[in-house]
């Protein structure tokens, strides 16, 4: 089976003009993600695991490398080069991202926040709300919170809202950045169950987990990142 995402030689560094510094992040990453399989990214803090996910979603502009994405019609797009409009289209239809922290429109109820991706795809409001209620229930979010904006929620509650929003649209490729970091054990079990469910539905996942145990239980493939090269070596590589 052909992978949905093939990353080849991906590197990211940040050039901070004001401080005149080059901050290295991930370097020379190779990995693949396939339908119905979960690829876990592991490595020490600072190895650039989150940067890889953000590059795929194009929240970060990759410094070098290729990220070939194959869509449902078999078209291949290098996400590193894709136009902004193409990226917006893929974000809406194909690629979901459960970030480490919840970023959402303020003053919207938790239920509407979770619905957003479905509504953006054109699903009717009531149908998307129905699905959102189902997911919030599965994730143990107390019903009294559904109508309230998540701004005042606890870390764990926000994370579950974030997860529900990421799972609701059944993307083809789902990026998960420590989705269980602040969850209690029973909710974590629910999340594992949900991840396994969408895996059987054929969603490809690229994930970072806080606990090694979760990697063991969920990953079909593990990619280890190492700490980035020293800045001087990057500069050398750039000039040579």
């Amino acid at each position: 089976m052909q992978p949905i995402l093939e990353i080849d030689g991906l590197s990211k560094h940040f050039q901070l003009h004001e401080q005149n510094k080059l901050i290295p992040s991930c370097a020379n990453v190779q990995l693949q993600a396939s339908a119905g399989r979960l690829t876990a990214l592991i490595g020490p803090t600072g190895a650039g695991k989150s940067s890889v996910l953000k590059c795929v979603y194009r929240t970060y502009l990759p410094s070098s490398g290729r990220m070939l994405y194959r869509d449902g019609e078999g078209h291949r797009t290098d996400l590193a080069q894709a136009s902004e409009h193409r990226m917006l289209e893929l974000r809406q239809r194909d690629i979901g991202f459960v970030t480490q922290f919840l970023h959402c429109l303020p003053r919207r109820s938790a239920l509407d926040v979770v619905c957003e991706p479905l509504v953006a795809q054109g699903v009717a409001h009531e149908a998307s709300r129905e699905r959102a209620r189902e997911l919030l229930g599965l994730l143990n979010v107390p019903e009294r919170l559904w109508g309230v904006p998540p701004a005042t929620f606890s870390g764990g509650e926000k994370q579950r809202i974030n997860l529900a929003r990421g799972l609701i649209a059944r993307p083809r490729l789902l990026l998960l950045d420590e989705p269980t970091a602040s969850l209690d054990p029973s909710t974590t079990e629910r999340v594992i169950e949900l991840i396994n469910n969408i895996k059987t539905e054929g969603v490809a996942m690229l994930a970072i987990f806080h606990h090694p145990e979760l990697v063991q239980r969920l990953a079909d493939q593990v990619v280890e990142l190492t700490l980035p090269l020293a800045v001087s070596e990057i500069l050398e590589a750039c000039t040579s």
Binding site: K54, R58, V119
Partner: protein, 279 residues
């Protein structure tokens, strides 16, 4: 997604201009005033694409040229150079080469296809007529002339933008700043334009009023699928509204990208400083 607007090489010079203007101004030389002839290069070589139902942000400090761009696109001013093609949503084969049209055709396009909300309500509203009258003016310009129908539409629009309908016969002069902006939005939306320009619409309003106006803009965008160009110096407004963003300085677009990328991984030194200065 269909392209609704395509702008190429838009430039605007205030003053007589000289052949050295463009080379002698811009972010590299830290000015937009030409040292040779004293002209102000408000915008130079601005290009952008806008798709149906999309919100594009233009971000920059005062004097960066961001308002100049929308003023040119709304025909408030004529550009010194450049091209803009507007394609109609219902039949994208219908295209207007905007700056090549005569004044009457430009007025038609402006009244039937575009809407504008200015920072200063005095520019967008006629303070000598009532709030309802302001909306009626716009409807009349777009060929709706039945009195009862106009009055009913005005009532609906003001209700939609949360202006007290009981006050529709008062002059907007007597309204608060936030209410005046709501009347402006109602007026701009009266003809359900496919393209709306918003120029610093929340600047100078109370935070709570800002929030409600931004929510209203988002709701309307989702309801009517209106394409918008949002000009602002406020990163919060950009974050909330825009999917893609252009950053301008001294009349030039120095960076453009997906809004989350501009805010989290800005490339240009100026954008990095701007993002780092956010409160």
């Amino acid at each position: 997604m269909k392209k609704i607007l395509e702008v190429r090489g838009l430039s605007k010079i205030y003053g007589r201009g000289c052949p050295l203007c463009f080379d002698s101004t811009g972010p590299e030389v830290d000015t937009n005033i030409c040292p040779h002839c004293g002209s102000v290069v408000a915008a130079h070589n601005v290009s952008l694409d806008l798709h149906e139902g999309e919100i594009l942000g233009i971000m920059g400090e005062s004097g960066s040229g961001k308002s100049t761009v929308v003023k040119n696109l709304f025909f408030d001013e004529a550009p010194s150079a450049g091209e803009a093609i507007y394609s109609d949503g219902s039949d994208s084969k219908q295209q207007w080469d905007m700056f090549a049209l005569n004044a009457a055709r430009q007025r038609w396009l402006r009244n039937h296809r575009f809407g504008m909300v200015y920072q200063n309500p005095h520019l967008g509203l006629n303070f000598n007529v009532s709030a309802g009258g302001n909306i009626a003016e716009r409807l009349l310009m777009s060929d709706i002339s039945h009195y009862g129908e106009i009055r009913e539409r005005a009532r609906q629009l003001l209700a939609r933008t949360e202006v007290l309908v009981d006050r529709m016969d008062e002059s907007p002069k007597k309204f608060s700043g936030g209410m005046q902006q709501r009347v402006q939005i109602a007026k701009a939306l009266a003809t359900k334009p496919p393209l709306l320009y918003l120029d610093e619409v929340t600047t100078g309003l109370d935070l709570s009023v800002q929030a409600r106006i931004l929510d209203l803009i988002l709701e309307i965008q989702q309801e009517l699928h209106t394409a918008m160009i949002v000009v602002t110096h406020d990163l919060g407004v950009i974050r909330l509204l825009a999917g893609r963003t252009l950053v301008m300085k001294y009349g030039r677009v120095i960076e453009s990208g997906l809004t989350d990328q501009i805010l989290e991984d800005p490339q240009h030194a100026y954008t990095q400083r701007l993002v780092a200065s956010a409160l």
